[in-house]
């Protein structure tokens, strides 16, 4: 026993302390508790892992029965294998860094204790997700992180857009959970257990042709679940809105950890997936589509966090693509490297926003390189990593994925390469807009924004929101302050973690993670390494950077011309392909309208209650007819009684009943 339960317990304790007493604690104590518990958890992970390495087989600890009903027996059971170990390190490691960062970023906020309580709770659930040794415990973490995501997105609950975004995240995730839970039921039916090892063992033994239908259904449902959590098309809509949350949250939850849970889950279920080729194909296609669409949207956005959000979606699509082509190891590798650089990007963006006094629109930035050099330096590391500049971490994982994809399907490969180039382009675009050129802080008037930023639009116009956020934030510095004061560098607690992550982003790829993960994943077919693939991939990344440099540094007037030329297509992409609007139009509005006018007013109040009341009215009608006998006049009643008496007696008398 390695007391694995202590790992999630530390953050839980932090949550309880901050949640119950945080209101009365000083900020320093809150920070200490929050950061301390997570760091303790990280240390405990290190200690545990060092004890149980090399982990050729999973290390399992069973604590108690949770649910026991008939043959369904679900224990509280934690397990660590190599997959888990990687996730544990990522979660606790990056989690610790982001906690540290957040103490700086959130220093001025109201609800400081609340934020850290939620964040600790998130750590608890995320660790439960990672550690749980059966699907239901994974589901606990799965739903739990969803909850924390909901809470943290809606952290600025005074803002309608924030709470709406929270709701959206939770509900879209619920749709995914719908699939996930159905998949679980099928797993129980098929394998009579939810414990990973047992399921995988049985699944591995199932002949492909025997239960392929079942496996396909299970995997497709799992895919729905994973798509929900990992923001894959068509359930990606919540993630951009989730940027309403504080930036550390975006970094931790919506970039580094939670959103990769879908990938983690897919890799966990790899054995089952391998039995369902159709589902694998579906995973790959979903991943590819997501990657492309999100990347193209990313090119058009102005809000720095939105850009990174779409980037995240796109990168997640990459991971799914990898998983879909059977490259689970590279997928996980990308999870890790992505965690590094995307967390860094978000934290860096957070530092930028911090230094810009909560301005997020890149058109208001520019030339920040001079004001916040440390931030720029660290962000540049993430930039080159995500762009796939050779020998950075992102390059390794990306090339691994592209290699696997090529062997699966060249068409997919070329699309993926194109996407890689687009990725490099939009990241570079945001970097150039932010750090290069002249500072445009006062140049762009607020009125220049698009006028359809309506509060009640359920937040699909991020642009408008950025402005409102700026105006509405309860703690906000005065509106003009952003323009009057110059951007300033973030404090050490903020750029410290950035530095660590920057280092990891650069060197994080030298560790051959797929190889490390081999014992934990089903054996994948090894394909020959082809050098030209790497060259093409690297070239795509660099080309993207170059194009961006041309458009945004060398010829700043070019984007506008291009935009004008593209016209409708640009608008479509800029509006994120109008997926939100389509959902509203096809699902949300009919559902609410139909519920209100048909199900409630029509069916419930009209038909059913109408029938009930109709029964009552009918009875009343019949009673109304019978009522004329009941005159209410007692003498008439008496006369009737007399009539009855005479009649009865006469009958008895004549009939001889009385003798």
């Amino acid at each position: 026993m390695q007391q694995l339960w202590l790992i999630p317990l530390f953050p839980l304790i932090g949550f309880l302390i901050n949640g119950l007493f945080g209101r009365k604690l000083p900020k320093s104590a809150i920070s200490l508790v929050a950061v301390g518990t997570v760091v303790a958890s990280f240390l405990w992970v290190l200690k545990t892992l060092s004890a149980i390495m090399p982990l050729e087989t999973p290390h399992i600890e069973t604590y108690a029965t949770w649910i026991q009903s008939g043959f369904v027996n679900i224990p509280f059971e934690f397990a660590v294998d190599r997959l888990t170990a990687v996730m544990l390190l990522v979660v606790t490691g990056i989690g610790s860094l982001i906690h540290v960062y957040a103490t700086g970023y959130m220093a001025e906020e109201d609800g400081y204790y609340r934020f850290f309580a939620y964040l600790n709770l998130f750590m608890f659930f995320m660790l439960t997700l990672v550690l749980g040794n059966n699907y239901l415990l994974l589901f606990v973490g799965w739903e739990g992180v969803g909850l924390c995501s909901y809470l943290l997105i809606g952290f600025y609950y005074l803002k309608n857009s924030a709470s709406t975004a929270g709701n959206k995240a939770f509900i879209v995730n619920r749709v995914g959970d719908f699939g996930f839970s159905l998949a679980m039921f099928l797993i129980v039916i098929q394998f009579k257990t939810l414990t990973f090892q047992d399921v995988m063992k049985q699944a591995a033994q199932v002949p492909v042709e025997h239960a392929v239908g079942m496996m396909t259904v299970i995997c497709l449902l799992l895919l729905v679940g994973a798509a929900g959590k990992s923001a894959q098309v068509p359930l990606h809509v919540w993630l951009p809105d989730a940027m309403e949350g504080p930036t550390p949250v975006s970094a931790l939850i919506h970039a580094a950890t939670m959103v990769t849970a879908g990938v983690y889950m897919t890799c966990r279920s790899a054995t089952i997936f391998l039995k369902a080729p159709i589902a694998m194909e579906a995973v790959a296609i979903v991943g590819l589509i997501t990657a492309v669409l999100a990347a193209t949207i990313g090119m058009t956005q102005w809000d720095i966090k939105k850009v990174f959000a779409y980037s995240t979606i796109s990168q997640l699509g990459y991971m799914f693509l990898a998983a879909g082509v059977g490259a689970f190891g590279p997928a996980m590798w990308h999870v890790v490297t992505h965690a590094f650089f995307k967390a860094l990007l978000f934290l860096g963006a957070g530092a930028v926003i911090y230094s810009m006094h909560h301005e997020q629109d890149m058109r208001h930035m520019g030339g920040l390189r001079k004001y916040i050099p440390i931030t720029f330096g660290t962000l540049a590391c993430a930039w080159i990593a995500i762009a796939g500049v050779p020998l950075t971490s992102g390059w390794f994982s990306k090339e691994a994925i592209l290699g696997a994809v090529y062997h699966h399907s060249p068409i997919m490969y070329w699309i993926a390469v194109l996407t890689a180039m687009v990725t490099a382009f939009y990241v570079s675009r945001s970097m150039f807009l932010t750090f290069f050129g002249e500072f445009r802080g006062a140049a762009v008037p607020a009125a220049g924004h698009h006028g359809h930023g309506d509060e009640d639009d359920h937040g699909h116009d991020d642009h408008g929101h950025a402005v409102e956020k700026h105006d509405d934030r309860a703690h906000a510095v005065a509106h003009n302050a952003a323009h009057d004061t110059e951007p300033h560098e973030a404090p050490f607690v903020m750029w410290g973690p950035l530095a660590v992550l920057a280092a990891l982003s650069i060197v994080g790829g030298f560790f051959d993670l797929p190889h490390f993960l081999e014992p934990a994943l089903p054996p994948a077919e090894h394909v020959a390494h082809e050098a030209w693939l790497e060259i093409v991939g690297s070239a795509a990344g660099i080309l993207g950077i170059v194009i961006a440099h041309i458009m945004y540094v060398a010829k700043p007037e070019m984007p506008d011309a291009l935009t004008a030329k593209l016209g409708g297509l640009y608008r479509l992409v800029y509006d994120k392909y109008r997926v939100d609007e389509a959902y509203d139009l096809t699902i949300v509005d009919p559902l609410i309208g139909g519920s209100r006018s048909f199900l409630w007013k029509g069916l419930d109040a009209g038909l059913i209650d109408g029938m009930v009341n109709g029964a009552g009215s009918t009875a009343r009608l019949v009673g109304g007819f019978a009522r004329w006998i009941q005159t209410g006049n007692m003498r008439t009643y008496g006369a009737w009684v007399l009539v009855g008496a005479v009649a009865v007696l006469a009958y008895l008398g004549i009939g001889g009943g009385v003798r």
């Binding site: 003498r635 008439t636 008496g638 006369a639 009737w640 007399l642 005479v646 008398g653 009385v658 003798r659």
Partner: protein, 167 residues
Amino acid sequence: MDTLLFALFAGIAILSAVVMIMQRHPVSSALALVGVMGSLAILYLLLGATFIAAAQLIVYAGAIMVLFLFVIMLLNAGAEPKPLRQSFLARALGFPLGIALIAILGFLIQRTVPPDSVVVRFADAKAGSPQDIGRALFTQYLLPFEVTSVLVLIAILGAVVLARKET
């Protein structure tokens, strides 16, 4: 003598009853009813029911009817006016039905208890003294007696509650 008394008081009883239902004025009706009750008391005596006869006078005539009279006087009820609307059925059917009832009942009584089967002689009465009644009342009919006492108690409470001034 029996026959004479019976004829006399039965006649008075029926006459009073007729007067009672024909009089428009409730006081007259009440007095006529007292007459019926008094005559009935005599008839009870003729049947040997001495205790019941006395009870009839004390309870019915002496208490219940006084209560009636008291209420009539309290409400100062006058003769019945012609009401604005009245029960057509009652007005049209009351008498014929009543006569029919008398006829049918008489017929039935004639048939079930022929006149020559039992004759009543005052001296022949076998039971009816207060001792007899008391003995039966407190042995065989104890439970009904107690129940009746509860009923009376409830009636007292009910009457008090109903007639109480709203506070």
